[in-house]
């Protein structure tokens, strides 16, 4: 499955300035692994102990993956995965 991942400004230094990346994967976890393959530095910024850091939110088609199956959430061809900082709002 090819999905597009939207990269927030705060991580673009680790993606050579790219705001979107097209990667393959069956689940959110696989998509993120594919992203880390391409941009090694991203892993240390947002991943921790095999999961995501506490202040990182990931959405599939606008829905927080914590309401879905977390990193096991399946993705479909053409889905949009969004990575965002969790410390906004209120």
């Amino acid at each position: 499955m090819a999905v597009s991942v939207k990269i927030p400004t705060q991580l673009r230094a680790a993606t050579d300035g790219e705001a979107t990346a097209m990667v393959d994967g069956e689940t959110v976890g696989e998509v993120l692994d594919a992203l880390y393959e391409r941009y090694g530095e991203l892993r240390s910024r947002i991943a921790e102990d095999g999961g995501l850091r506490r202040f990182v939110n990931v959405y599939v088609e606008g829905e927080d993956i914590r309401f879905l199956d977390g990193l096991e959430t399946e993705v479909s061809d053409g889905d949009e995965v969004t990575i965002l900082p969790a410390v906004a709002g209120g």
Binding site: P8, A19, T82, A88, G89
Partner: protein, 410 residues
């Protein structure tokens, strides 16, 4: 306390004092790091007393280069001793900090004042926000007063009173089909694409500091002493944690003595991710889908949830949730004992205060301060049908026919 840098609350990486809110190394929240105070407590007190009757009297503790010219001044709201409420709750000393008495009738005037002042220093011409209503009111009004453009993003199902009270200032009002959390996600994305000062996103480190002034005022109004316990609503947890920061800063400055108050947080059962995590002993919150009349507290994914949990635990406090019925009863209890008509968030706070008092968790001798953060006129629908009216003809006979029902019990 001159502001020196932004600093990651988690990994301590410093950043310049710009419009940014996230640590690029660990994604933790940024907050303001200050230098040392240049004055002793007596001098600080003199400066405060000599300052304006607004939150800018505490400029020594705020993250701006200089206080802005006076415009729509926020803060310096009444702290009222609520003896009739205390008596009902079998407590001795209850105070109500009535922050509905701000220019746009909520505590959001404080945070927006500070965010706007810093945004102007940084050269922005547009102020924006993701809001559950009160923030939209404040952003629209303060931007208008300062001559800035404003974009406010709100959930489409917001109370009409809040939408009208915002629209009157002619900001761009964008109603989003979704919850506040959807609005917040959208605005977090937009803040990467537009060169705007989003009060509670890229300006959040400055914005959040405005809430400290509620603690400063409370302490000043109590003649430079601290309460024993505070009860405060929790949405994102920013107000709750910054209230503590305010008390801590004054303790370390020597402006007050004694112990940190016990911090009690209040949520609505229909949106209580922080109260649930507190009850289950977790260090962080699982997000929820909100379903409550307390829309100003309807944040299912609270940014400062983990810090709020830590604060309640380390001060020996708690975080509780109350039902929609208890919220309406809380609004009535405050109104009928103090004359203050609060919005749903205040109903949540008073209902939790009542719950704690009835459970015997508050010692009778404690000095308790409850924070009323918004005005009842903004959430009128929730009190509809919660009382009776009698319709009569304009004649004495017509009145006398219902007078029996109307008689006030002795």
């Amino acid at each position: 306390m001159p502001p020196e840098s932004l600093r990651c609350k988690e990994c301590k990486t410093p950043y310049p004092l710009e419009a940014r809110f996230v640590c690029e190394r660990c994604f933790g929240p940024l907050e303001i790091a200050y230098g040392s105070l240049d004055a002793d407590p007596a001098e600080l007190r003199r400066r405060i007393h000599g300052g304006p009757r607004s939150l800018w009297r505490y400029a020594d503790f705020l993250p701006v280069a200089a206080p802005p010219p006076p415009a729509l001044e926020a803060g310096f709201t009444p702290l009222l001793r609520a003896d009739r409420l205390a008596e009902k709750l079998r407590l001795e000393e209850v105070w109500i900090k009535n922050d509905a008495a701000n220019p746009t009738h909520s505590f959001k005037d404080r945070v927006v004042s500070v965010a706007l002042a810093r945004a102007r220093e940084l050269g922005f011409d547009t102020l924006a926000c993701a809001s559950t209503g009160n923030l939209a009111n404040a952003v629209a009004a303060h931007a208008a007063a300062a001559g800035l453009h404003a974009y406010v993003f709100i959930p489409a199902d917001l109370e009409e009173q809040k939408v009208l009270a915002t629209g009157v200032y002619s900001p761009r009002v964008v109603a989003v089909d979704g919850t506040y959390d959807d609005v917040n996600r959208l605005c977090t994305e937009l803040s990467s694409e537009h060169d705007w000062a989003f009060a509670n996103i890229n300006m959040r480190p400055y914005y959040a500091e405005g809430s400290k002034t509620l603690a400063f005022e409370t302490a000043e109004q109590l003649s430079f002493t601290l309460p024993d316990r505070v009860v405060c609503p929790i949405a994102s947890g920013s107000l709750f944690t910054k209230l503590a920061r305010g008390f801590e800063e004054w303790l370390s400055a020597g402006l007050v003595g004694g112990e940190m108050p016990v911090f009690c947080g209040a949520q609505a059962t229909g949106c209580s991710p922080v109260a649930i995590a507190f009850g289950e002993g977790h260090d962080f919150c699982r997000p929820v889908k909100p379903d409550t009349i307390a829309k100003s507290l309807a944040i299912g994914n609270p940014a400062d949830g983990s810090y709020a949990l830590d604060l309640a635990r380390r001060t020996g406090g708690t975080i509780e949730a109350v039902s929609d019925e208890e919220i309406v009863a809380g609004i009535h209890l405050l109104a009928t004992t103090t004359g203050i008509f609060t919005e749903t968030a205040g109903g949540v706070t008073i209902a939790v205060l009542k719950q704690l008092a009835e459970r015997g968790e508050i010692d009778r001798s404690e000095r308790v301060v409850a924070y009323i953060t918004g005005d009842g006129l903004k959430t009128l629908d929730c009190v509809r049908d919660s009382f009776s009216t009698w319709q009569i003809e304009p004649s004495v006979e017509s009145f006398e026919r219902v007078a029996g029902e109307l008689a006030v019990p002795a």
